[in-house]
């Protein structure tokens, strides 16, 4: 089980924590919880989804404990930019470039983007996990995408 899920869980947590040392600690704590609570797994989600949810909750709690604000700011971006064309040049769409650019996003919108886009949760589920409104989740997602496009363009164009 560990071997099967470690890569995915580590990257899920790394994208939230934005730091490999913290990610290592959180993944460790996550698997300890998994091994201790395995008897309470009820089978109403896949085991991968169950472990992922534990990993995400542990990571978000760790962020909060570290007082690294999960700040959902809406500064810096004008209304007009939300309406901009979303496509980016194909040469910017390399997984490595996107991965590095995601790690540079502010905590709040990065976490929303991760949960929605990389982990496949709906905005309703993201809102529940992060204790925000669905509308904040949507706004932060759009903000994250604008900042992500800006980072890709400024770094690689």
């Amino acid at each position: 089980m560990y071997k099967q899920y470690i890569d995915a869980m580590y990257h899920t947590v790394l994208r939230i924590m934005n730091n490999s040392t913290d990610a290592q600690d959180v993944v460790q704590e996550c698997f300890v919880k998994v091994f201790e609570k395995i008897h309470s797994y009820r089978g109403d989600a896949t085991i991968g989804a169950w472990i992922k949810r534990i990993a995400i909750n542990t990571a978000i709690n760790a962020l909060r404990k570290k007082k690294r604000n999960l700040e959902f700011s809406s500064d810096e971006i004008s209304e007009a930019r939300y309406a901009e064309e979303e496509d980016v040049a194909d040469n910017l769409l390399s997984n490595k470039k996107i991965h590095d650019a995601v790690l540079n996003l502010p905590n709040g919108c990065r976490t929303v983007l991760n949960l929605y886009l990389f982990e496949g949760y709906s905005h309703k589920e993201v809102a529940t996990i992060l204790e925000i409104t669905e509308s904040t989740s949507k706004t932060q997602f759009r903000r994250a995408k604008i900042l992500l496009r800006d980072t890709l363009k400024s770094k690689y164009v």
Binding site: K3, I6, D7, S20, D25, V32
Partner: protein, 174 residues
């Protein structure tokens, strides 16, 4: 192309972007689980020991309290045989577990608790001859043995769990 679409289509690839320190994490998990297990064991045994102290404290107090009127009831042979039987069961279980082969780093705290119980029992036994109520004293001794036996049975289960974890660990190669 749209970033959303690109990420959604390549989700799995994003789980292999960085080297994963899986061995270091696994070692940390094992250490963490062992520490938690030791803590749980200690709490469980300490609780059992506390129950024994609670049971025996009034009796030990009574033994040394000169104001208790003497009431020398002849001890029925049945209760003596029972005490002997429980003592033997607990002793056999202790021999069976063979403490010499157990890791003191994991079970040291439990050994200390059992030593304390043994020592309390020895005190009880020493004072038994002066007891104003021999039947009650032997009843307390029986409860000692029952609790001691229960602790040893729990210890036996934990040893089996530990063995299973070690066997599982030895089959995993990262």
């Amino acid at each position: 192309m749209n970033i959303d679409k690109h990420i959604q289509e390549n989700r799995e690839s994003f789980d292999h972007m960085e080297p994963v320190p899986s061995e270091a994490i696994w070692i940390g998990i094992q250490q963490n689980l062992r520490t938690r297990q030791r803590r749980k064991l200690f709490i469980r045994y300490a609780a059992a020991a506390a129950i024994i102290c609670t049971f025996s404290a009034p009796f030990l107090f009574n033994l040394s309290n000169p104001t208790i009127p003497e009431n020398k009831i002849a001890t029925p042979p049945l209760i003596l045989a029972q005490e002997k039987q429980y003592y033997q069961l607990a002793s056999d279980k202790k021999d069976e577990l063979d403490f010499r082969n157990l890791d003191p780093a994991i079970y040291g705290e439990i050994f200390s608790e059992l030593d304390i119980l043994d020592s309390m029992y020895m005190d009880l036994k020493a004072e038994l001859t002066n007891s104003p109520d021999a039947e009650r004293a032997i009843g307390t001794a029986i409860r000692f043995h029952e609790r001691r036996l229960r602790i040893l049975e729990l210890l036996e289960k934990e040893i089996e769990n530990q063995k299973r974890i070690e066997e599982h660990e030895s089959t995993i190669k990262i």
